[in-house]
């Protein structure tokens, strides 16, 4: 498997691993195709992502994609996070092997799921 140094670096020392206490946005996704599972935890305050953590069951591409995404997410507005595409994650990693692109797509989906969760929670509050 031809992984970039950046992928290996994030795989070896992933950033922001674990459940985030007090998270108010949680996204859980799984890839039916390869069996990977991913959870994205966000703490959003005043429309800004203050903190992000993840848990992932998967290969080096899935773990490094999750790690890079949490780094990117911190400080983003909700709108910016909504627009976070998997290509950005791939770019940050210096590229991923073709058959591993779906791992970065899974991260994008996890972020989307977390933001949907956040909106759902807020709607409930407003009622």
């Amino acid at each position: 498997m031809d992984y970039t140094n950046k992928v290996i670096e994030h795989f070896k020392n992933p950033k922001n691993v674990g459940e985030l206490e007090g998270a108010n946005a949680v996204g859980r996704v799984g890839s039916a195709s390869c069996g990977d599972k991913m959870e994205m935890y966000l703490l959003i305050e005043d429309g800004i992502i203050k903190d992000a953590k993840f848990m992932t069951f998967g290969c080096a591409a899935a773990i490094s994609s999750s790690s890079v995404a949490t780094e990117l997410l911190k400080g983003m507005t909700i709108q910016e996070a909504k627009e976070l595409k998997n290509q950005k994650v791939v770019e940050e990693l210096g590229g991923l092997p073709g058959e591993k692109i779906h791992c970065s797509v899974m991260v994008e989906e996890a972020v989307k799921a977390a933001l949907e969760d956040y909106e759902k929670r807020n709607k409930k509050k407003n009622i």
Binding site: I8, F11, G18, C34, G35, T56, F57, G58, C59, A60
Partner: protein
């Protein structure tokens, strides 16, 4: 950094005595064995010496040994060569669903040409059942091809029984013995084999050379057309140097195989015991007794195989995985799937294969690192957190 090689089923390092023999052949046996002059005859001597030692090791006649480019060519030849030679008699072949891809893809190729293939299932240990085989046999069955030992799980198949059935029914029987050679006693008559695939690089010989055993009287179509080499059945100038090395590798087996097997078993059992005692949620795959002495296949729950393999690699430890993420196809290996390993475990399917140069110290280092890595990966795995406690 340390380099601990635990992937002997993938390939083996070439033994020093083998390299010496090859070096000798490089210097002396540069001729073409088909030339009748002095230099040609000398080269031919190296080829025939290898043929004789291989034949005697498996209880065959030297005229029943055909040198090839390796296991894949042997498998292709056995399947297609038999299919083409016997197509008037029938177009049905029986094999198993856990064969090497050289067998499976050859069979799929024949299916496109109107042949019918029965892929026998295996039980949870990876064994084919004799009852299933008997049921699958038809009037038009021309070939049964079942591997002697599975390369991933290490499970040994009931070759002798299968051979007896094939013989009784007048069906040709081929076995891919690439993984078994050197680890399992092989006798072509006792096993009723008509054809067998052998490879050099799995037994500490050079890569790119193998041999096919074809019983006297069994006719299959040639695979390579050209010159009259190999009793007019396999054309192409002999790969003299590698054949000489292959012969030397078998000679070493002939003299020492029991010692090696005892060593493999001791090291493998130690590895197995340490892992099962010190890491939880580990499942042993394959058959506990009917298995290759050097193979340990386990599924580590809640850990993904590629992540595990890469982490071990960073510590200088080389193993193999059947996980989906490492296959490029997004599916776990066909063998792991055939054994119906559970969802939480199948992705962590890992193969350790020990060899002549593996020591107890290597295993201690490996298990110590493995424990750290499994703990690290599980700490970030949502499936581990949600396991059924």
């Amino acid at each position: 950094m340390k380099e601990i090689y635990l992937d002997y089923a993938a390939t083996t390092p070439t033994e020093k005595q083998v390299v010496d023999k090859m070096y000798e052949a490089y210097r002396l046996a540069y001729g073409n064995p088909s030339s009748i002059h002095l230099v040609g005859r000398r080269a031919k001597g190296y080829v025939e010496e290898a043929r004789e030692v291989i034949a005697s090791y498996i209880g065959a006649d030297p005229k029943e040994i055909y040198f090839t480019s390796g296991g894949t060519e042997c498998d292709n030849w056995a399947i297609k060569g038999t299919a083409y030679a016997r197509q008037k008699r029938g177009k049905h072949i029986i094999t198993s669903c856990i064969e090497h891809h050289a067998i499976l893809h050859s069979c799929e190729y024949l299916e496109k040409q109107g042949y019918e293939i029965t892929y026998l299932p295996v039980d949870k240990y990876g064994s084919v059942s004799i009852a299933d085989l008997k049921k699958a046999i038809r009037e038009d069955t021309i070939l049964i091809s079942i591997m002697m030992a599975n390369n991933e799980m290490g499970t040994l198949q009931p070759i002798k029984e299968i051979g007896e059935i094939a013989k009784k029914k007048g069906i040709l029987f081929h076995s891919d013995a690439v993984q078994a050679l050197g680890s399992v006693p092989i006798n072509v008559d006792a096993m009723n084999l008509d054809m067998m695939s052998l490879s050099s690089h799995k037994i500490y010989g050079p890569k790119g050379v193998g041999a096919m055993y074809i019983r006297k009287g069994v006719r299959i179509e040639p695979f390579m057309h050209g010159g009259a080499q190999e009793f007019k059945k396999r054309a192409g100038t002999h790969n003299v140097i590698d054949i000489a090395g292959f012969g030397q590798a078998v000679k070493i087996l002939k003299e020492n195989d029991k010692v090696y097997v005892a060593h493999y078993q001791k090291i493998r059992d130690y590895l197995r015991d340490r892992i099962t005692q010190e890491i939880d949620y580990v499942q042993l795959n394959g058959h506990c007794e009917k298995r290759l002495p050097n193979n340990l296949n386990i599924s580590i729950g809640y850990v993904e195989g590629e992540a595990l393999l890469l982490s071990l690699d960073m510590e200088g430890i080389c193993v193999s995985t059947g996980s989906a993420c490492s296959s490029g196809s997004l599916k776990p290996s066909h063998v792991a799937m055939a054994l119906h390993i559970g969802d939480d475990f199948i992705h962590g399917t890992t193969r350790f294969t020990v060899g002549r140069f593996t020591s107890i110290e290597d295993i201690d280092y490996t298990v110590d690192k493995l424990k750290e890595i499994v703990a690290r990966l599980r700490a970030m795995s949502p499936t581990y957190r949600e396991r059924n406690i």
